[in-house]
Amino acid sequence: MRIFAYAVAGWLVLVGAMGILRSRNLIQATVSLSVAQSGTYVLLLAVGYQWEGAAPVFSPGSTPTSDVVDPVVQAMALTDIVVSATVTALLLALTIQIEKTHHTVDPDKLQQLKG
């Protein structure tokens, strides 16, 4: 089952990269980048997951009685989500500006930066 989660993570990253590679629309390229990043979420959560594990909530004075899932990777995934929101917003804003200045969002038609 764990293997399955890792395979999904790897597949998402590759499919996301493939999406940017074959993209004919910069919005699609931006969303593909988010798909690739979803792979990192899946990987991080899979790394920290414990079967039958409880949420990592402790209170002072009580000793935990069961296994808990790893909170570190959850914090990393949260940070990752914040990063993703920033990058996606910036890329979409740039796409809007490209549409305004080039009147297209097709990377095949953006020919300004050759050589």
Binding site: I20, T30, L91, Q97
Partner: protein, 610 residues
């Protein structure tokens, strides 16, 4: 336990620019432009002071700061750590110093400097300082993204210009994808070790022979850094971003941000993977990639006539040399690279600012259109030519010293032929800049013809970056350029600096010392005195590359190539092929990124197969 003033400096150096960035954002709504300039400058100077104090504090070891006082017990820790040694503090100093010069250049005049420019510059600086001071792999990723996002936004600051937004988008997409691959690698490493700090990771991996997961994690983690370092074939974004970014931003990107990629590669390999992935394998892999990068960079640099792109490709060529220097995996090689980086930053920064002056006065960046328009009387002329010669390695400039020490380290590591590569690359890139300078300022040689539509390299910027085309050069701009050039020369003239870098490189490559000091607060063993200084062979090789640069520049200016001929058409076809690969298409760039990752994985993984 309170460890004294020094351990407070590191978090302060990161936090201060962030706080000041917020202050600038608040203030610029109602106050004048002048106040934003002033606040940003104060913050950059303060960051420079803090980093300089850190350099002084790390003279005999490392400064370790556990944030929030979460100190390790018996070598086990849950806290997040900043570990500063002399090279990382020096890098922070370099970033802050370049930011000061960039802000001085944009003082009052630069139109781009309205609005969010100052805040973004300070966030960029905070990201870079945090990136080099951190002792934790995940925090390195976070600071990587902070510096990345501010750089993307700064590149696209002229949002009305079509080139500008496209260059910024290419930069943002490819660097973000690289960063996410890095994060995958960090996740894999955490899965294996349950740790994120460099010291803890290195301890957990020590003695484990490299298996598939460790090699995979190493390749993935470094891919993000190598995209930032513009290693071929992941370098395509760099020229696009540099061609369109505002001039002061180019100074920061070319001078220090790109080199941060090489820094991170060296840091991660030497503290985490050094005991599990054998040195000869890494050495061969990065020598190969470094040679490829240097070759592509030099070729494209010489073929350019868009001045900013020319300088950008020269940066790529030099990154190739830095990668080669890292691949030697010796303290001397690292010391050479560190000095080379500082010297290169000063020279390249000055060159970018000089090109920015041309753009503001003549509204063009094309070697042909600017031909002979400036005249030799202008002080910029001699600064430009001096910088070109320093880039070629003229003794006693900083780049020359770095080159000389790296060449010696290469000979000591058993690769004496690398000296030829260093001489050739610095001569060719120096010659390209020299040729451009002689044409633009002195009108030497024949005028290059108008650009053929097929070779159109980015539309010309139509507007100067200042509000009006400049009639005369403002003093602040000239001072910024002079400071950068002087800084670059000082590196090659003051022996104490090279000594300090030499000692710092010994600390930098001491994995056991890093582990002991970070987790057990064991004081570092004193580093031996360093012999990093000019040697006769270094001076001779520096002079050779300078003379070679002059000869190449002279030939390209005065000798008209034969109109027809088998050799010529072969050459043109070759250059044209490489040039066509730089398509400006984001899909192509992603394909090259994946290809580069596969090549690197093969170079490191295949020799380790049982």
């Amino acid at each position: 336990m309170y460890r004294g003033l020094a351990s407070d400096l590191a978090p302060l150096a990161v936090a201060l620019p962030i706080v000041m960035a917020c202050a600038v954002l608040v203030v610029q709504r109602w106050a004048s432009r002048r106040l934003a300039d002033l606040l940003a400058m104060v913050a950059a100077v303060a960051a420079l002071g803090l980093s300089a104090a850190l350099v002084a504090a790390t003279k005999d070891g490392r400064v370790v700061t556990w944030s929030g006082g979460w100190e390790p017990r018996d070598g086990r820790s849950v806290g997040i750590v900043l570990v500063v040694d002399q090279l990382s503090a020096g890098f922070a100093c370099l970033a802050a110093g370049l930011t000061c010069c960039a802000l001085l250049y944009s003082w009052r005049y630069l139109e781009a400097a309205h609005g969010h420019y100052h805040a973004l510059m300070l966030l960029f600086l905070a990201g870079m300082i945090g990136f080099v001071l951190t002792g934790d792999l995940f925090n390195m990723f976070v600071f990587f993204e902070l510096m990345g996002v501010s750089a993307f936004a700064l590149t696209g600051l002229h949002i009305e210009e079509p080139d500008s937004v496209q260059g910024s988008l290419n930069f943002a997409l490819i660097n973000s994808l690289g960063a996410y691959l890095s994060l995958m690698g960090i996740g894999l490493l955490y899965a294996r070790t349950g740790q994120l700090g460099f010291a803890q990771l290195g301890a957990k991996l020590a003695g484990h022979p490299a298996d598939g997961l460790i090699v995979g994690a190493f390749v993935l983690v470094t891919i993000g850094f190598l995209v930032k370092a513009a290693m071929a074939p992941m370098h395509f974004w760099l020229a696009d971003a540099h061609a369109v970014a505002p001039t002061p931003v180019c100074v920061l990107m070319s001078g220090v941000m790109v080199e941060m990629g090489v820094y991170a590669l060296a840091r991660v390999y030497l503290t985490v993977f050094a005991t599990s992935i054998p040195a000869p394998v890494v050495q061969r892999a990065f020598l190969t990639m470094g040679l490829l990068t240097a070759a592509v960079g030099s070729l494209m640099c010489f073929a350019q006539r868009h001045l900013k792109r020319l300088l950008a490709y020269s940066t790529i060529a030099h990154v190739g040399l830095f990668l080669i220097g890292f691949a030697l995996l010796s303290p001397d090689g690292l010391a050479g690279v560190a000095l080379y980086v500082v010297g290169h930053a000063g020279v390249k920064g000055a060159l970018f600012l000089l090109v920015g002056l041309l753009l503001d006065r003549f509204q063009s960046l094309d070697e042909g259109k600017l031909f002979g328009r400036v005249g030799g009387r202008h002080p910029a002329c001699w600064m430009f030519l001096l910088a070109a010669l320093a880039l070629a390695g003229l003794p006693p400039s900083g780049p020359g010293l770095g080159k000389a020490i790296t060449e010696e380290a290469a000979s000591a590591a058993g690769y004496p032929w690398l000296s030829v590569v260093f001489v050739l690359v610095s001569a060719v890139t120096g010659a390209a800049v020299l040729r451009a300078g002689l044409r633009v300022f002195l009108g030497r040689g024949h005028r290059p013809g108008p650009i053929e539509p097929a070779h159109q390299i980015g539309a010309e910027p139509k507007e100067p970056e200042t509000e009006h085309p400049l009639r005369r050069t403002p003093l602040t701009m000239l001072v910024a350029i002079g400071a950068l050039l002087a800084g670059s020369i000082v590196v090659g003239v003051v022996p104490a600096l090279a000594q300090a870098v030499g000692r710092g490189a010994v600390f930098f490559s001491d994995q056991a010392g890093y582990f002991n000091q970070a987790l057990f607060a064991v004081p570092a063993a004193p580093a031996p005195a360093s012999a990093a200084w000019w040697s006769w062979s270094g001076i001779l090789l520096g002079a050779a590359s300078t003379v070679l640069a002059m000869i190449i520049a002279g030939i390209s200016l005065h000798v008209r190539p034969p109109e027809r001929g088998h050799f010529r058409s072969r050459m043109i076809a070759g250059v044209e092929l490489v040039r066509r690969l730089h398509s400006g298409h984001i899909g192509d760039y992603v394909a090259w990124l994946l290809f580069g990752a596969a090549v690197l994985a093969a170079l490191i993984g295949l020799p380790l197969l049982p």
